[in-house]
């Protein structure tokens, strides 16, 4: 995703999506997952086939590596996916979950499940929201998330992209996934992260 933002920045912050892809000799569908994710995080707006930075997106590309991480952390915390994950960790015995439990929690379909869970784990680690022990396949929160006091039924959220530089290969089913938005949801109900 970060590669996409850097690319958009080199197009002065606004460009036709097709031309963006063309600049790196990529097909449009190779940059779409990153684009979806960037817009779900409120960094980019896509309108009429044209991607444009939001104010936050502008701040992001002007920031240092560490500041960017803080922005991503804030934005991830607003997504239902991470709210759910952190609440689950909060309520779990000893505040830990195995990645198998994570798969179950998000009821991801078997085929892309490994990748989806790995993506979620990677984003959580990158933004330092969670720790992950690859030997024991164990997730733990870095800091306790505030309890929201309501239960959410998680309905197949699609995987987020892998850490910032990469563009995930999300299958068509991910894009279609949708569900009723939870009350008080901050993010726009975009495909990549907001379904709940």
């Amino acid at each position: 995703m970060q590669g996409l933002l850097v690319l958009l920045n080199s197009h002065k912050g606004s460009e036709d999506v097709a031309l963006l892809a063309d600049d790196l000799d990529l097909e449009i569908d190779e940059i779409l997952p990153s684009l979806d994710f960037a817009s779900a995080l409120g960094l980019v707006k896509v309108h009429d086939g044209r991607a444009t930075f939001t104010d936050l997106g502008k701040r992001y590309v002007a920031a240092t590596i560490r500041e960017r991480k803080a922005i991503l952390r804030e934005q991830l915390l607003r997504t239902t996916l991470f709210k759910t994950l952190l609440r689950a960790l909060d309520n779990a015995p000893e505040h830990q979950l195995t990645d198998e439990q994570l798969t179950h929690l998000f009821s991801v379909t078997p085929a892309p499940a490994d990748e989806s869970v790995q993506n979620i784990v990677n984003w959580g680690r990158y933004t330092e929201l969670i720790r992950y022990d690859a030997v024991q396949h164990l997730l733990t929160p870095v800091r306790r998330a505030p309890s929201a006091g309501r239960t959410l039924t998680v309905n197949r959220p699609p995987p987020p992209a892998a850490p910032p530089e990469s563009h995930p290969t999300s299958g068509p089913s991910n894009r279609k996934a949708s569900g009723p938005s939870g009350p008080g949801e901050h993010t726009s109900p975009l495909p990549a992260m907001a379904s709940a």
Partner: protein, 268 residues
């Protein structure tokens, strides 16, 4: 101030039918705060040049100097970032980053502080205990970079560091390298990048040393005077790409064409 001086360097290897000359009479300097790119066709000896500079190999004739001292063995003031990342799969991210500094004989707490610092500046926080297999290519190369920077090298050598990455990842990592390079509180004093990607070289470097095909000689030493951040779609960028490309494709036979040095700027 000149940090590296390469003077009349020849390099040949023994082949089945006698010696094969890799490079002939290569001379150039790298000064403090230079970001130099070595470009040239495949097999022209770009990577060999890096090995000679770091002292991993010796020239057949001519000499390489680092801070006015001849390079006779591996130089400690330099660090390399490899195309293949070259991480130890059995070590965690932190341990991989510590790998280079452990040879310096520092106290453990100093090593730890240094590792933490460079893990952090390269954006690897959160992955300290991860093993390389858990990481994407971009994150692996960040480990390679953190390991190289952690020894606080005077010169950072990068051998095709973005070639093994997908285009978007490479784009993001190039931008991060420039961000780190701009930060005066971070090493190195100079960077030498080997690349076969001319646009990448122009995007990153302030000077491009164009090598001919084997046996390599210096075809041109091109100064890139374009303001940063560089716009790949600007006509100045395009003209420069075109010029370097022409130099390489027309770049002559073994001993023709005298090297052009310092003659060219982007504004021409």
């Amino acid at each position: 101030m000149v940090i590296i001086r390469v003077e009349h360097v020849d390099k040949s290897f023994a082949g089945r039918h006698g010696n094969i000359s890799i490079m002939q009479d290569i001379s150039f300097d790298v000064a403090d705060s230079d970001f130099v790119a070595l470009v040239g066709p495949s097999g022209c000896g770009k990577s060999t040049m890096l090995r000679l500079i770091q002292g991993l190999d010796r020239p057949t004739s001519g000499k390489v100097e680092f801070r006015d001292k001849p390079v006779t063995s591996v130089v400690t003031g330099m660090a390399m970032v490899f195309q293949s990342f070259a991480l130890c799969p059995w070590l965690t991210v932190s341990q991989n980053v510590a790998f280079g500094i452990e040879a310096l004989g520092w106290a453990p707490d100093r090593i730890k502080a240094q590792v933490d610092r460079y893990v952090s500046v390269t954006g690897l926080d959160g992955f300290q205990e991860a093993y390389p297999r858990e990481l994407s290519g971009g994150m692996r190369q960040r480990v390679g970079l953190a390991r190289a920077l952690a020894v606080e090298p005077s010169v950072l050598l990068m051998d095709e560091p973005f070639s093994a990455l997908d285009p978007l990842t490479a784009e993001s990592l190039r931008e991060e390298i420039l961000q780190l390079w701009r930060d005066p509180s971070l090493p190195p004093d100079a960077v030498i990048l080997v690349s076969h990607n001319i646009e990448e070289a122009i995007q990153l470097a302030d000077r491009i040393i164009v090598l001919s095909r084997r046996p390599a000689h210096v075809l041109a030493d091109v100064h890139v005077d374009l303001p940063r951040p560089r716009d790949r779609k600007s006509s100045a960028f395009y003209d420069l790409t075109d010029r370097v490309y022409s130099l390489i494709t027309e770049g002559g036979g073994p001993t023709t064409a005298p090297p052009v040095t310092n003659g060219a700027t982007a504004s021409q």
